[in-house]
Structure formats: C-alpha cells, structure tokens
Amino acid sequence: MKRLIIIICLLVTSIAPALGADQHLANPRTMKFPELNFQIPTAERVVLECGMPVYLLRDTELPIINMTAMVRTGSVYEAVAKSGLAGMTGIVMRSGGAGGAAPEKMDDELEFMASAVESGIDSDMGTVSLTSLKKNFSRTLQIFTDVLLRPDFSEKRVEIARSQMIENLRRQNDDPKEIADREIIRAIYAGHPLGEVATFGSVSSITRQDLIDFHRRYFRVDNMILAVSGDFDRSELLAKLNSAFPPEKNHSTLLLPEVPQPRQKFQGEVLYGRKDASQTVIRMGHLGLSKDTPDLYAVRLLDYILGGSFTSRLTMEIRTNLGLAYSVGSRFDIGRRFTGSFIAETETKAGSTVKTIGLMKDIITRLTKEPVSDGELNAAREYMINSFIFGFISPASIVTQRARLEYYGYPDGYLEKYRDNIARVTKMDILNAARKYLHPDAFKLVVVGDAAKFDRPLSTLGNVKELDLTLNIPE
C-alpha cells in the first residue's frame, strides 16, 4: 500500500514538469524565434516622357490608389519680409480652386467621390497628395494635376487663408509648449531662413501675385518626383501620367536659389518666457548634423541611448527614477538639406525647474565623458536592426520612402546597407560622436513658466534674456 502511494506521488511529480514541457511556455528572457522571412521591398522607378521620375508599387489588397508629388521648394526660399508665403501657397493651391473649377465645386466633387487631394509646403519640400478609390482614380487624377500645376488662387480664398493664419498667430502663445517649441528653433537657427517665423506684418504683406509667382517658380514637371501605390494597372497608369504631365517645351531654366547652411556658432543662451503655469516647459539644444556625414549611424544609436526611447538615460532618470516628468527625451533631427538640430525637452512642476535642467545637462554631459555600456549599445543596435522592417509596412510608405531618398539625394544602397552600418558602430564611435555633436555648455536654453515659483533663480544658469510674448496685434 505504502509503495503504491509512493508511485502515485512520483507520477504526480513527474507529470507536472511533463505538462510544463508539453505546453512550451517560454521564458521571455531566453526564448528563441524562427527566422523572419524579409527582403527589403523595392519600388519600380520609371521616367515619364517629360523627364519626371515616378516610383511605382502595385498592391491590390485594397481598391485604393495613393499618390504623392514631392516638389523641390520650401519656406527656406521665401523672403524674411514675406515669412509665411510658402505655407500660404501650399494651403491656397488646394483651397483656392484649380483648373477653372471654383473651390466649392472642387470640394463637392472630391468629397462626393470620397477622394482626397491635399497640398502643403514645409521648410524644404512641397507636396500634393491624392487618395482615391480605384474606380474614381481618373477623375481624381485630373483634379490632382490641376491643383499641382494650375491652381487658381481665388482672391476670396487667399483672404480667408490670410485671416486664418493671423488668427493662429493670435493664438501662438496660448500653450506654453508651443511657445517653447517655437523659441528653441528660433534661437538655434537665428539668422537663417529656418529660424524665421511668420508675423502679423509678414502675413499681411503677402499678395495673391506673390502666391502665383511662388507657385509658378517651383511647381513644374522638371522639379518634382511622383510616388504611386495601390491597385492600378501599370501600363494604363503610365499612359495616364504621360498625358497628365506632357513635356514642357517653353520652360525657362529652372533656378533654385542658393540657401547657405546655418552658421555653427556654439554660444550658450538662457531665454525665459513668462507664463502663469504650475508646470515649466524646458527645451535646450543647438545645431546638430546632416545626413551626409559618416557619423550618422553612431549618432542614431547615441540618440536612442540618450533620449530616444522609454529606457533611454533621460527617461530612466528624470521620469522613472525621480518622477520629475511625464514626458522627457531628446532628439537629433538629422538634417537632410541643412544642418539639423539637437533638442532635449521636458516639462516639470515649477518647483523642480532648475534642478531638472541641471540633471538633464549632467546626463547629456556624461555621454561626452565616458563610453556607453555594452548592454546599452546592444539594446540600441538590436532595436534598430530588428524594428527596421516597420519602415516597410504599407505600399504607400515604401514608395514614398524611395522617392524621398532620391529627393534628398541619399546615396545608392542607403536602405540596403543601413542595418550593417548600424551593426558596425562601436562604443568609441558613440563617444566620439557625443564629443563632436553635444556641447551642453553651448545649449540654447528656453524656459517657459512662472519664475516666481522656481526652486532656484534662472540666473544661476547664466544671463537671462526675457522673451517678449506680447503679440502687438495691428488694429
């Protein structure tokens, strides 16, 4: 009898691990995975008869076609006295009617088809985009072409766009975060077109003729790249595009103005904006780097380790360990045409303002003094390499990415070599990059909040210059 019990007990104990093994509940720390079957998707590059490059990727999962035109233009080309001109041109190209169709009629026709055509111009690129059900593509393409090449800039819509931009200027100091985001860019790019912002005066001085001229100068078939994806028939699409964009015979020579690079002048500055708030907005940074340096990959890893992830040093210390902020981080905005920027940012309660600024500077400085750990380097590398596939999750993102690489002049094989280039970066490369591109003593520091409630005076950080936040709205 006793023997039997022992056997039963043994059975029970031997069943338990057997069950566990049967169930294969893996340990997340050590689990292994099957190989991922992934080849970098490409898009076909075709040149239209007019010379315009087009990237194509057919995908029939959804009965939708997406298209984007990227145009070499941008607010960097506008005169300081006309700041806002490029943005306004981008808005009114779509809102002001095109190809002889009145704005209301165009809106009605597009929305009845559930198609969308949108346009915009940012600092270094103009875009016109189209999305449409396959069955409405032909008509939507006509409207897209009109918006891109033949906008009418209705006088009334120009005035509405102007008055809306002016309303936005009136509201530009309502949210302290918006103030700080604007002022840090102005400080970093002072003296360069990238540091200019629209004002009541500049927006008021823009005329309809300015918009027409700005558009005419840049929106031409020899100055743009197209990206098309979705459910199309290749030869039918190319025929349509060739007829929509015929060769231009009478074009003057394309002249893109020279815009100088921003001047590297590393000099610290403390800028204070007064705002009655329980929390202080903090931004600090200076010029960064452009994509055309071999340090690019080291900087990408450095960025992840310093402030680009939830386990980055800044987030770990300021948020997770000390509970001083909800949102904290930093970012190298890699310049594509112009030198980019480095900005670190957070918001913390007024009473921990100066303490938090000091901590952030210390954390950043430490990266320039000693190498990162093996664990940090591996974690960053593995993330960058393993998450690379998320750059290719939709046909639209794949073609747009290919077109952007050409637009900004990335070298051939950039994507194909990206993971190898990341894998090659060493701890010393990161230390060298940190020393070259991080200068905490020369940070432009922008602080927006109520200085009366700060833990220590801002003046302990340097000479404080107060920002003039009065709007001076013209009557």
């Binding site: 209301e104 929390q279 596939i389």
Partner: protein, 494 residues
C-alpha cells in the same frame, strides 16, 4: 448633362458593398473557455503583426474614492511581474510591503490637513525614501519594454479611456510568441513596484495635459459640468487630489477585480496563421481563471433642465465648446447623430465649414464629435475657435442657426449619398494597417458587444431618413439640453 450622367454612374457603382463583406469574411473569432475573446485577421502585406488587448474596464467603472486608478494602474502594469523586472522577488516583496505600510500611513497623515503632524510626515517621508532606495536594488527597470524593443517591437504603449483600457504592440511576425509570454505573465503575476514614483509621474502628466493647457482645462471642466450624476463626468486621469490619495493597495484591488480573461478582448492582425495563433494563445492564456463580471454603472444622468454655461478665465484666446446629451453608441438615435455629425462637421462640404468658416468667417476651426465615451449615454459636441474680432457669442449663434435649420429643412439625398460614399471609402481604408484594424476590432467589440458593428454600420446609416434627422434635431438640440463652455481671455474685461 455630362455632369448628371457622371453622378448617376457613380451612384450605381457605390451601391456595391465589397468592403464590408470582405472584412466580415476575414475576421476569425475564437472565444476561450475562460471567456477571453480572440479576434484575428490574416494580412501578409509585411512580415509584421499588431497585438492589442482591450480590458472592458475604464475610468467610468471607478468609485469616487478611487478616481484615477484605472489610468494609474495602466502605468503600473509596465513595471514587471514576479519574474520579470526583478532580480529576486522573494527578497523584494517584504520591502514592497513595508513601503506600502509607510506610504499608507503618510497618505493618512497628510489627509488630516491642518491638523496633520508635520514631524511625523517628514519622518515617514524619509522612511519611505530609504525603503524605496532599498527596493530599487532589486528592480530591473522597464524590462518589458527592453525585451520588446530588442526584438524589434514598436509602438509598445497603452491608453485608458472612460470605457476601457488597451495595451498594444507591433512586432516582427516571428516574435508573436514573445507577446503571449509577456502578456499572459502580466495578466497573472503583475507586481506594481515603483508605485509612488510613478504616481508623481502621473501628477506631472496631469499638469502637462490639463493644468498648463487652457483648452484642455476648459474641456475637463466642461465635461465635468455636463454630468452631475454619471461618472462620465470625472476626468480619466483623476483630479489632483484623487491622484495624491491613490495607493498601491487600491490599484491592486482594482487589478484583481477586473483584469481577468473574461473582461479581455484580444485582436491580432497581420502576418499570422490563425489556427497556429489560436493554439499558441490557448497555451499561454487558457489556464488563467475567469474573474467576476464587471458590474454595469447604475448611475443615470437626470435629464438636464436648463442651459449650463461654464466660463474659464485663462491667458489664452477665446474657445467655445457646446454639448447636448444623447444616447449611447449603437442605439437608433445614435446612428442619426452619426449622420448629423458628418453633415455638420465632416470635411470642406460640411455645413459648419461652408457657413461659418467660408461664408461668415466667424471661426477658423470647427468640429463635431461624440464624447466623452460610448458605452453609456454621452454628448454630441461642437467645438470652435472664434476668429477675432468675432466673439464666442457670435459663433454660438451661428452654430445654433445651423442646428435649427436641421429641425425645419430636410437634408438632401445627395448629402446622404455623399456620407455613404465616404463610409465606403473608410471601410476600404480601415483594412490598410494592422494597428488600425486591431484598434477598431477591440474598440467596437468592447463598446457595442460586437466588432460586426463596423460591417453593419453603413447599412444602418443608409436607413436614416431626412425625417429622422429633423425629429432628432428637434428632440435634442434644445436650450434645456445644452451646455456651453468657453474661455474668456484674462484681462479682456468682458
């Protein structure tokens, strides 16, 4: 003539219904014995997968002494389990227990206000800091995040709303099992370590999102003033004093009460094999015991008997919000409101845009939407920024004029057709991303009881008539049923 022909042809084409039917056929449903619901869609566009878990518990389910706990708990569930996020849980646990004792004593003493013993407070604060430093020795910081990101996971996040709480991640498709291993562990063995530091983080989140952002502050005040009885009025993040009084014990109680497989809806969309996925999810989640059912909120908002006007004086330009009480999602009148909201507020052909932005130029920005949740009766909301020199009052009058027009003049067939056309497009586009589809599947399954709400929606909308719209407009757009919130610029003297 050509124009008319074109329109007729388009109408005929729009009458097909391929998209809704397509989704209907592609969703694979599986309900586990413990009540967990699994919704899957195979999409092989890229070797990636999105996995979302939605718990049917949100801030509307909180009692008044635990406001903010659903959201704070969501933060805490990133802190690990008995095996992840720690080097030695057996040694860590007694320290965590001691922290909780001291923190509770500290919270209790602070609530005494003026009568509190300040010496005791400072002693307890020191004790707490020392214990937290001790506990920190065992912590492996954010190990969930680290494991996911090393494996290429992106978008690892969570969000809490009035109606529910959702945890999401996208992974390379060969790593889906990592999700199952981590999430099944989290559901059973979560440890809310580093609680009191995270509570400070949430206070900073509150300051950032509401206290220092005038429009959001108005929004919070407006919603709170719209609901006197129903917990939809309380902010999901909690008022500052609510957060200050939350404890780990309260959060654990909430967790153990409601985070159970029978309250969970899982959507897995992407490069998967549904049969293998079901087997894997069963293996990791199948043995978890069901918990109790979530009790419904019993509070019923009494009918509003007069206009409420809420003013916020702030260092910001004027803003206007108007709200009208309306029934919950998936009720007959709710579909009529969907149509109304699209006619009034959707796109450049909407009435608000054409009338108030383009014709009268009273506002630069106007929108219409439902808020603050969907499971229970909610609000139809219109929000607008007056364009200077126009005032809040002028915009308010302009909005009322459009609402009144709906009461007296039937909308055109073309307006209704445009709406159906746009829904058709949305149905097609909705299939376009793994995450977007996973979001919709979990959201509608949770709030309406079935993801099929999506495939039925167009048919329901198509049955709304011009007479329905007039009836609903008359019944709901009344002075009694209206709450108005607005910002007055500080020092403007008005």
């Amino acid at each position: 003539m050509k124009q008319i022909l074109l329109v007729v042809t388009l109408l005929a084409l729009f009458a097909t219904g391929i998209q809704a039917a397509d989704l209907e056929n592609r969703v694979v449903e599986h309900t586990m014995k413990n009540g967990m619901k699994l919704l899957m869609v195979e999409r092989h566009t890229s070797p990636t997968v999105s996995a979302w878990i939605r718990f049917r518990v949100g801030s509307v389910d909180e009692r008044s002494d635990e406001r903010g706990v659903a959201h704070l708990l969501e933060h805490m569930l990133f802190k690990g389990t008995t095996t992840l996020g720690t080097t030695d849980y057996a040694a860590e646990k007694p320290v965590l227990d001691r922290i909780e004792e001291v923190a509770q004593a500290l919270t209790a003493e602070k609530t005494r206000g003026k009568r509190a013993d300040t010496e005791k407070i400072s002693r307890l604060e020191k004790q707490l800091a020392a214990l937290e430093a001790d506990a920190a020795k065992y912590v492996i910081k954010d190990e969930f995040f680290e494991l996911y990101s090393k494996n290429g996971g992106t978008g690892y996040n969570a969000f809490t709303s009035r109606d529910g709480t959702t945890y999401l991640i996208s992974l390379p498709s060969n790593k889906l099992e990592l999700w199952a291993a981590i999430e099944s562990d989290r559901l059973q063995n979560a440890v809310l370590r580093e609680f009191y530091t995270e509570r400070s983080v949430v206070m900073e989140e509150r300051r950032r999102s509401y206290d220092a952002a005038p429009e959001s502050k108005l929004w919070e005040t407006f919603v709170a003033s719209s609901f006197l009885a129903h917990p939809y009025g309380q902010p999901t993040i909690g008022w500052m004093s609510d957060i200050e009084n939350l404890t780990r014990s309260k959060a654990e109680k909430f967790f153990h009460s409601y985070y159970a497989p029978n309250n969970a809806i899982v959507a897995i969309v992407g490069d998967i094999d549904t049969k293998k996925t079901i087997a894997m999810v069963e293996r990791y989640f199948g043995a978890i015991k069901p918990g109790k059912e979530l009790p419904p909120v019993t509070a019923v908002e009494p009918p509003q008997a007069g206009q409420r006007r809420i003013e916020l004086i702030a260092d910001a330009e004027p803003t206007l919000i108007m709200g009208f009480h309306k029934p919950a999602i998936d009720t007959p009148d709710d579909y009529v409101f969907d149509v109304i909201s699209m006619i009034l507020g959707s796109g450049r052909t909407s009435r608000f845009y054409k009338k108030l932005v383009i014709e009268k130029q009273l506002t630069s920005d106007i929108g219409a939407f439902d808020a603050p949740g969907n499971r229970y009766p909610n609000l139809f909301v219109v929000s607008a920024n007056p364009r200077a020199p126009h005032t809040v009052k002028e915009v308010e009058d302009g909005i009322h004029a459009e609402l009144d027009l709906l009461k007296t003049t039937p909308v055109t067939e073309r307006d209704l057709q445009r709406i159906l056309n746009n829904i058709e497009y949305d149905e097609a586009r909705r299939m376009g991303t793994n995450g977007g589809l996973a979001h919709n599947l979990t959201e509608y399954e949770a709030t309406t009881g079935s993801w099929r709400y999506m495939t039925e929606h167009r048919r329901k909308i198509a049955s709304v008539t011009p007479a329905d719209i007039m009836r609903v407009a008359r019944a709901y757009f009344t002075r009694e049923n209206c709450t108005v919130g607005f910002i007055t610029k500080k020092g403007s003297g008005k």
